[in-house]
């Protein structure tokens, strides 16, 4: 028997499985208070998923407000947080929308499908804004390279990201891969998508216009991704049902490709008022969000939803996370034209309801009302927790145990050995084994992709207008100091974008942390947000949206606090972009920025000594801004031919990467009075190396001097086929390449 609103009113004492659905006792009571009766099973399903941490942000909301409160004034921001994705103006009438989203847990359970549907989900978010998706990126974290589980999870995740993105025909232009023991059993899969549209094509997902039709289109609704809803299956006594509902969704990228083209045609034909993608919490989320963002009411006949599995209960239909589905709001006059377009694309479509002015979301099942709620209470007025947070006791101890006592290499031979070992260490090794599985150049607008500092895309073929995007996030730095660590992630992504010559504009963030019920984790989270919000204010780059993923932990052990920051920048003409690699013999290599003795949280301390302690490198956002202006101006004026930011592994690793890009050589000298080890491996921030043509050298150094920015002539590019650090050591390029490129290939092949 179906649990109706009427029945719920008559049976107030019927026990309900709120506990199994993840609700707390007081949350369940609150639902009863809101409704003035017990919820029906369908309502309980809806509240339980929408009030989950994942959908309601109940632990993070009070902190996330800072992104709005501290947002720097920006003319570029067209749509801010709260919609499917933020939108940024890049000039010439173009707008860019971009967002990062996590799919961590599903990728651990079923690596291929988890990662694939992570890409599919973020692509639909971008599409829902009215934009054409043009590129993806992925930011991945795994357990130790030699762990068995990494060998199960990593190949599946990489194949899933590549499989879905490649089938959609979207280039994968960048990202990162980091290994750390804390991510064993808690891999992170954060996917970013970029979309392009004209200003006038921006669409907001609001259900307005009383009488407008609510349409569900795309794939059919099946039993996938239903977590808790199976608990409600007891409302049916049908024995033919599949015994176990998996929480795994399987995606179909070719369906999604059709859906993209179909949605874009619907937008272009102006026959749709709003489109909302169906992701987490499926129809529950789409109906309640669309309704509460619009005129406040909606009426749905749930039996009109097209099903793949007719045995699904109403609660399951409302919670299903079947992929490749969209919900549209269409005026009655446009309905025929809308249906003609979806029919042309062979996209199954069902009119399931309409927008009302009642302020209620009412859902019927074969004529009986099973949901009657105020949609705001589902979508926006969920519980908000001020979780206790406290600086953990071990933080002081961790910061006190600095890297000062670690044995440092001395002399040419030891430095040479250190460099070769670092190049082959999992975090610094070339990721080409992974990125070569992704199509980086499909669509023909990729200007730079991995292993460059940032992915660069041409947006406008006429003018060369383009964008650059980079993601970064160093969990070790954040563990040592979450406030600084989050700013370091921002600073690195910002610097990476500027290194290509792009002016940084806006930020998206993927915040991955452990359990918010642990005050130490909550403190890391609060500090990271405070750091990121302050940093964005100082750099003038607003946060446009993003994602929070909590409960990433095994037992009491949380993952490293991992704030992944994506920065978007704009290039007026991508022909002016600055690549990473050295190419022309005779060009002069300059080191920009100040180098200090900073090894806390460094790759050297970790890879060589397994050490994590002390303080992360200091942040100087004013210097980052100045460095970015130098790099952007030098790119525009043609003063530099190559640039590479300095980060993990320091100068030595950056030099090798610039040398390996085109297989040339370089001669480098350590400036007088500088410790060679610090010079080569320190991870001091706000630094970059550039290759300057001799004809531009005076103009370039004059610009740096005028800005009082530290710049040192440290070497020259040559075609000698080796990296020569004068007076210390020499390594042939081929030896560098073998050290850099064999680690991942030998770990995952054979």
């Amino acid at each position: 028997m179906i649990d109706t609103v009427e029945l719920a009113g008559k049976t107030p004492d019927q026990p309900q499985p709120w506990d199994e659905l993840g609700l707390k006792a007081d949350e369940y009571q609150r639902i009863r208070d809101i409704l003035g009766r017990r919820p029906t099973n369908a309502e309980l399903a809806m509240y339980s998923v929408m009030w989950s941490e994942h959908c309601s942000y109940k632990s993070s909301k009070v902190h996330l407000r800072q992104f709005g409160e501290k947002a720097p004034a920006s003319d570029a921001l067209l749509v801010g947080m709260g919609q499917n994705a933020g939108v940024v103006d890049i000039g010439h009438g173009y707008a860019i929308t971009f967002k990062i989203e996590s799919h961590n847990h599903p990728s651990y359970v079923e690596p291929y499908q988890g990662a694939a549907t992570g890409v599919g989900g973020i692509v639909r978010d971008i599409l829902a804004m009215g934009a054409r998706p043009v590129a993806v990126m992925d930011s991945l974290r795994f357990g130790p390279l030699d762990a068995d589980d990494t060998h199960r999870v990593l190949p599946g995740v990489v194949a899933g990201v590549g499989g879905y993105g490649n089938c959609l025909g979207l280039p994968n232009i960048g990202g990162e891969v980091v290994f750390d023991p804390s991510y064993a059993a808690n891999p992170l899969v954060n996917a970013l998508c970029v979309g392009v549209m004209k200003h006038e094509d921006i669409h907001l997902a609001n259900a307005t216009g009383v009488g407008n039709k609510v349409v569900l289109f795309g794939a059919r609704t099946g039993g996938d991704g239903i977590g808790g809803a199976s608990i409600l299956a007891s409302e049916s006594f049908d024995d033919s049902k599949p015994s176990k509902r998996p929480a795994v969704q399987v995606g179909d990228p070719f369906m999604e490709k059709v859906l993209i083209e179909c949605c874009l045609e619907l937008f272009e034909a102006r026959v749709v008022e709003a489109i909302q993608d169906l992701g987490a919490a499926g129809i529950s989320c789409a109906t309640s969000e669309l309704a509460s963002n619009g005129d406040g009411g909606m009426y749905v006949q749930l039996e009109k939803v097209l099903l793949r599995d007719p045995s699904l209960t109403p609660g399951e239909i409302m919670m299903s996370e079947s992929q490749e589905r969209m919900m549209g709001v269409v005026t009655p006059e446009n309905l025929d034209a809308f249906l003609a377009i979806t029919a042309r694309w062979d996209v199954e479509t069902a009119v399931i309801g309409e927008v009302t002015g009642t302020g209620r979301l009412i859902i019927d099942w074969h004529g009986e009302t099973i949901v009657d709620v105020d949609p705001r209470t589902v979508a926006h007025d969920g519980p908000v927790y001020e979780r206790p947070f406290a600086r953990p006791e071990w933080q002081d101890e961790l910061q006190a145990a600095g890297p000062e006592g670690l044995a440092r290499p001395a002399g040419g031979d030891e430095l040479r050995g250190t460099l070769l070992r670092l190049l082959g260490s999992p975090n610094l090794a070339s990721k080409s084994w992974i990125t070569d599985q992704y199509d980086r150049y499909v669509l023909g607008n990729t200007v730079l992709a991995q292993p460059e500092d940032a992915g660069v895309l041409r947006i406008d073929e006429e003018t060369g207008l383009g964008v650059a995007i980079a993601t970064d996030g160093n969990g070790r730095y954040a563990k040592l100091d979450p406030y600084t660590g989050a700013q370091l992630a921002l600073a690195e992504a910002y610097r990476n974008v500027a290194t290509t010559g792009a002016r940084p504009l806006a930020v998206t963030d993927g915040l991955n942390f452990g359990s918010p019920e642990d005050p130490a984790v909550m403190w890391q989270f609060a500090e990271a947000i405070r750091g990121l919000a302050d940093g964005c204010q100082a750099l003038g780059t607003p946060v446009t949206g993003g994602n929070v993923s909590l409960y990433n932990q095994t037992g009491d052990t949380a993952i490293l606090p991992t704030a992944i920051v994506g920065v978007l920048g704009v290039l007026d003409d991508v022909a002016r972009r600055t690549p990473q690699g050295f190419r022309e013999s005779g060009q002069v290599v300059y080191l920009l920025g100040e180098t200090r003795d900073e090894f806390g949280g460094s790759e050297w301390a970790w890879a060589e000594h397994g050490h994590l302690g002390g303080r992360p490198p200091s942040v100087d956002l004013a210097a980052e801004r100045e460095l970015a202006e130098i790099l952007v101006n030098a790119s525009r004026d043609g003063l530099i031919d190559a640039a590479h930011d300095l980060s993990d592994g320091g100068l030595a690793v950056a030099l090798v990467e610039s040398v390996l890009r085109y297989g040339v050589g370089a001669r480098v000298w350590v400036p007088d009075g500088v410790d060679p080890f610090v010079f080569l491996f320190s991870e001091s921030q706000a630094r970059a190396i550039v290759a300057v043509p001799r004809s531009e050298e005076v103009r370039f150094t004059d610009m740096c001097s005028a800005r009082r920015f530290a710049h040192q002539r440290i070497g020259v590019v040559d075609d000698g086929g080796e990296l020569d650090v004068q007076g210390l050591f020499t390594v042939p390029v081929e030896e560098l390449r073998t050290a850099h490129e064999s680690t991942l290939a030998s770990a995952f092949e054979g």
Partner: protein, 83 residues
Amino acid sequence: MARVVVDVMLKPEILDPQGKAVLGAFGRLGFDGVASVRQGKRFEIELDGEATPEAVAEIERAAATLLANPVIEDFTVHVEAGV
């Protein structure tokens, strides 16, 4: 010599894009009366010796770890008679 057959199918509630594509082709090529298609995999495994209960159990173990992905797939194992 004995032959053991392992049939692997996606669980019924899991989306099967290949089956869906085949269903679409049925219609386009004029094969009528087909309501649904689901596609699976069949493995024919020749054993060195007889299909003893131990040998079949070993194949079942291989099916659960190598041939099928039990997160999204079901499998059946049976000994084929008369080989």
